[in-house]
């Protein structure tokens, strides 16, 4: 005891003696930055919104703990419920918001029950599989929000959240790796693509009509939203030669979703996401099995009403898909938010000029004009043929900021997405391992949709598999049709490259409070 006391005194003395008088604090720019914050009024409104969502989620979680199933009950609207037409778009947004975050479970149909089946893989039901198996998929996730988490729900995925598509269920290196893109602004993008497809279809129709009238082939340049899609040749017999068509599938349907542009609608990506990532087979797909419209064994060998043999007959039906579409279509769009610091603002302005000068905008078209902001989604199951569709005004409904009016009569809205929604050859260095199947025909390994750059600041690491840790790396990896722009960028002096990076970092999501 005495020894310990003595040691303590000695120790305290020694520790004190060791202590040099602390010098002046280190000054760092990290601690002295002037940062602009929202007004108190804006903060209070955001707190209310954040709390509302949090409290609702907590009550649902508590109820669900007591009685499993409650949570999904509140995050799912059936077509039957939608048919009553008592739900507002706000209601659909709230329910879809919860659904986006909901972690599905085996009792909801997550995964499959295909024991001993090649589609099932080596693990017990629900047969989670981090690397997907062919077109069958995973399941490799339990919730949408699990892979769209960067910068908050609906954002891009981190590099760990990459999906391994069309693999052998085990080998990461044998799969087609994709970094999850953000799902903000998908409503306006679907509308843009639909208008472009419509323009192209009209040009095809008039070419065919001209060829049939003339009794000779007619060559028609294809242009949508002022962007060239190559040339279509219509023949006198009403057939077409699409070999000269560029940037779009031969069916002239612009598919703006997915890194290669393989899906045309939000409804399409929602259905695909449920099925390949969570093993939730939409009822409309089960009906296709019943009706022999998809090859037997595509989703498993079970009876059509439980084709993946997990004991769940209705996993995702029309109402749930429509709710999710209505939610996604009402999300905000990313913005161009110039920095407030004067020096950075100069760099931003120079960067915008550089972007134009090296012709990034040749494909990353800053603004596309939208005429009709009404997105309509319809139930697909045959028994719902008479059910009402849901219409979202993507310029008005839901979260702000929204696409903005630009004062043109024929195209009232500007969508600042920085993409031409065309596919381009990006060269062999970026090529995927294999061609990607799509309704409009397989998409070649070197072909990629021009990635919309909006929201870029919140999506590092970059490119389709997240291989680029910086903007510079991402730009320098561009080849093929982008080779000239890439070379022009590589030849820029350092300060112009820096300015371009500052400009690109201003493409971001509007910051907002959440209580996660």
């Amino acid at each position: 005891m005495r020894l310990r006391g003595w040691l303590f005194v000695l120790c305290a003395a020694a520790c004190d003696r060791d202590a040099a008088p602390p010098s002046a604090p280190v000054t760092s720019r990290l601690f002295t930055e002037e940062l602009a914050l929202p007004s108190e009024q804006a903060l209070l409104a955001q707190i209310d919104d954040a709390l509302e969502k949090k409290r609702r989620a907590d009550v649902d979680r508590a109820l669900d703990a007591l009685e499993p199933g409650e949570q999904l009950e509140h995050a799912r609207l059936t077509q039957l419920a939608l048919d009553r037409q008592i739900f507002t778009l706000d209601d659909l947004f709230r329910v879809g918001d919860d659904l986006f975050a909901y972690q599905f479970r085996p009792e909801n149909g997550l995964g499959n029950g295909l024991a001993g089946h090649p589609l099932a893989g080596p693990y017990p039901a629900p047969n989670l599989r981090r690397v997907q198996y062919g077109a069958f998929g995973g399941p490799d996730a339990m919730a949408c929000a699990e892979c769209h988490s960067l910068g908050g729900d609906d954002g891009a995925g981190t590099r760990t959240q990459n999906t391994f598509f069309r693999g052998d269920g085990d080998r990461t290196l044998a799969a087609d790796e994709r970094n999850p893109p953000a799902v903000l602004g998908t409503g306006p993008v679907e509308r843009l693509a639909a208008e472009m497809s419509c323009e192209l279809a009209a040009q095809r129709a008039s070419a065919i009509a001209a060829a049939m009238t003339a009794g000779a082939p007619v060559s028609m340049p294809l242009v949508a939203k002022g962007l060239s899609f190559g040339t279509l040749v219509a023949r006198a017999d009403g057939s077409v030669d699409a070999s000269g068509v560029t940037g779009v599938a031969a069916d002239l349907i612009v598919r703006p979703f997915g890194w290669k542009g393989h899906q045309a609608t939000v409804r399409g990506i929602v259905k695909e996401g449920f099925r390949v990532h969570m093993g939730l087979v939409p009822l409309v797909e089960q009906h296709a099995v019943r009706d022999g419209l998809v090859p037997a064994g595509t989703y498993g060998d079970g009876p059509w009403y439980d084709v993946d043999e997990d004991g769940k007959t209705i996993e995702v039906e029309d109402g749930m898909i429509s709710t999710m579409v209505a939610y996604l279509a009402q999300l905000e769009v990313p913005v161009v938010a110039p920095p407030s610091d004067p020096a950075l603002r100069d760099a931003f302005a120079r960067g915008r000029d550089v972007f134009a000068r090296v012709q990034c905008g040749g494909c990353h078209t800053p603004t596309l004009q939208l005429a009709d902001p009404l997105l309509v989604t319809r139930p697909e199951q045959s028994e719902n043929a008479a059910s009402p569709s849901i219409t979202v005004d993507v310029a008005r409904d839901g979260l702000t900021p929204k696409i903005e009016p630009i004062g043109l009569a024929d195209a009232p809205f500007g969508v600042q997405l920085f993409s031409d929604l065309r596919r381009h050859d990006l060269g062999p260095a970026l090529a995927s391992a294999a061609a990607q199947p799509s309704e409009g025909g397989a998409i070649a390994p070197t072909q990629w949709l021009t990635r919309p750059l909006w929201g870029l600041a919140d999506t590092a690491p970059y490119l389709h598999d997240g291989r680029a840790s910086t903007i510079d790396e991402a730009i320098l990896l561009h080849g093929g049709e982008a080779q000239a722009s890439r070379d022009a960028f590589a030849a820029l002096p350092d300060e112009e490259r820096a300015a371009l990076r500052v400009y690109l970092m201003s493409l971001r999501r509007t910051p907002k409070l959440v209580a996660p």
Binding site: P25, E146, P461, P516
Partner: protein
């Protein structure tokens, strides 16, 4: 007394508390505002604005974040008490959120920069930031199933590796403090037994947890054959699913190397180092980037992680008026919650998931393996709220960790493929249940979507409790689920 000997005695007596008093103006720092008020809202937006500002800076002057944080978190200055813990917290947070670039030292010299499945003890890397895997329910949280790490694999096949779901980091400061105290007490028990100078048996009990028996013979030889749930060196290692890391600094150092390919100056000094690569000491991974993370930056990261808030241990709250969910609230499902807590004990879960451990001192030392210098984090006043609080009745600080900090045999059903840190394949550290309600999916591999599934996977030493659970009437299982789900983070505002 010989001066060198005196220094050794002093070092031993001071333990790791050689930290000099901090700069006088450090006391002016208030703890970071958390919660749901205006201050917390402003702070959340300030952090987001700073994050965006740093992106611009990084765009303008690549390497900005690493350079500036290196300047502030200089280990020599930290060792002299010139850097406040709160400044290290801010720097650590910036580094925790930072997207590392190849120029910062991300990845190794391997031609393929990323490996989703790790290559043996050489690691991945599989990602670019700490937050990419610790994000659920706010910064420092757990990871989801897609975020799983695949450890000790062949660099390609998922099946070759041990899947590990990223655990939540909140409460880590208190966890290290508890483990440090337990380790010190066990070392004292051993030292006392040896000092006795005769054959003796010591029950290794610290904080009420028994780690078996130590046998010492008359000559001072120690037998650890009857030691249980801990390594033979009697060091409590509370981090990692198997209990492989002793301190937050070790955890940070290992994680940066394995998951980011970012090697700290301390990397070669941690107890169970990865294979760092054949490069020179300043660039072990040979990617041409020297000193990727300084000891001071690792310290800053550790201070940040040590300062994350504690989870809460209370019933859910429900709004008084469901039509106005942001209004006042009251406790919800209180009876079920209370009953669930009792059932946890009745069926023997608390035999390993010890509800609470007493904390003797409310500081934790974040020590640099390189310089042995420490910075002290004040767990009762300086960290994010909620913090560890004094129990008015007993006067002690109790941390409701729901863990005994011991390793247990969970049965062959749960055996890992590989041996981690010399730990037998069936053994896992008792997972702390605090905060568990927000960490689905559960278990080390994140393969349990529900709590029921996770409970049902307990075997080995937990077999009896699992069986007791299967016998429970439905309403008892429901109550247990309510209680476990209520173990969560205090609601807080963030701008993600």
């Amino acid at each position: 007394m010989n001066r060198a000997l005196a220094l050794v005695v002093l070092l031993a007596a001071c333990g790791d508390n050689l930290a000099p008093p901090p700069r006088a103006d450090c006391s002016a720092y208030a703890p970071p505002p958390t919660g749901l008020g205006l201050d917390a809202a402003r702070e959340a937006h300030r952090r987001a604005a700073l994050r965006q500002h740093l992106r611009y800076r990084e765009a303008l002057e690549p390497g900005y974040v690493m350079r500036e944080t290196r300047l502030v978190a200089d280990q020599a200055r930290i060792d002299r008490g010139e850097v406040c813990a709160q400044e290290l917290y801010e720097v650590g947070r910036i580094l925790f959120e930072h997207d590392f670039t190849f120029a910062d030292g991300l990845a190794t010299s391997d031609a393929a920069p990323f490996h989703r499945v790790q290559r043996g003890r050489a690691g991945g890397p599989e990602t670019t930031s700490c937050t990419s895997c610790h994000w659920r329910s706010g910064p420092g949280g757990a990871g989801a199933f897609p975020d799983n790490a695949y450890l000790l694999g062949d660099g390609d096949r998922i099946s070759s590796a041990d899947a590990r779901n990223p655990p939540s980091l909140i409460g880590a400061g208190v966890v290290q403090a508890l483990a440090d105290e337990m380790t010190a007490e066990l070392a004292q028990l051993r030292a006392d037994a040896i000092a006795r100078g005769r054959a003796t048996e010591v029950e290794l009990v610290t904080k009420g947890i028994s780690f078996g028996t130590l046998h010492v013979d008359a000559r001072g030889n120690v037998s650890t054959d009857d030691v249980r749930g801990i390594d033979r060196d009697l060091v409590v290692r509370p981090f990692g699913w198997k209990g492989t890391a002793r301190t937050i600094t070790e955890l940070v150092t290992e994680a940066a190397a394995a998951h980011l390919g970012v090697q700290s100056e301390d990397a070669a000094l941690v107890e169970d180092p990865l294979e760092l690569g054949g490069g020179p000491p300043e660039d072990p991974d040979g990617d041409g980037i020297a000193d990727e993370l300084t000891s001071g930056q690792a310290t800053a990261l550790a201070v940040y992680v040590a300062s994350l808030e504690l989870p809460i241990n209370a019933p859910f709250e429900s709004p008084d008026d469901l039509a106005h969910p942001a209004g006042p609230t009251q406790p919800y499902l209180v009876d079920e919650w209370a009953r669930g807590r009792v059932i946890l004990e009745q069926i023997g879960c608390t035999g390993c998931h010890t509800p609470s451990l007493p904390l003797a001192r409310t500081v934790v030392a974040i020590t640099s393996p390189l310089t042995a210098g420490s910075v002290m984090v004040d767990l009762a006043n300086g960290t994010e709220a909620p913090r560890v609080a004094r129990d008015a009745a007993t006067g002690t600080y109790n941390a409701f960790v729901y863990s005994d900090f011991k390793r247990h045999d969970l049965g062959g059903e749960n055996a890992s493929q590989h041996v981690h840190g010399g730990i037998a394949t069936r053994f896992y550290l008792t997972r702390r249940l605090w905060g568990v309600g927000e960490t689905a999916p559960y278990f080390h591999d994140g393969a349990s979507v529900t709590l029921d599934d996770a409970i049902g996977r307990h075997h080995g030493e937990a077999e009896a409790s699992r069986l007791a659970w299967t016998q429970l009437p439905r309403e008892d299982r429901d109550a247990l689920r309510v209680f476990l789900t209520s173990l969560r983070r205090a609601p807080r505002l963030v701008v993600p």
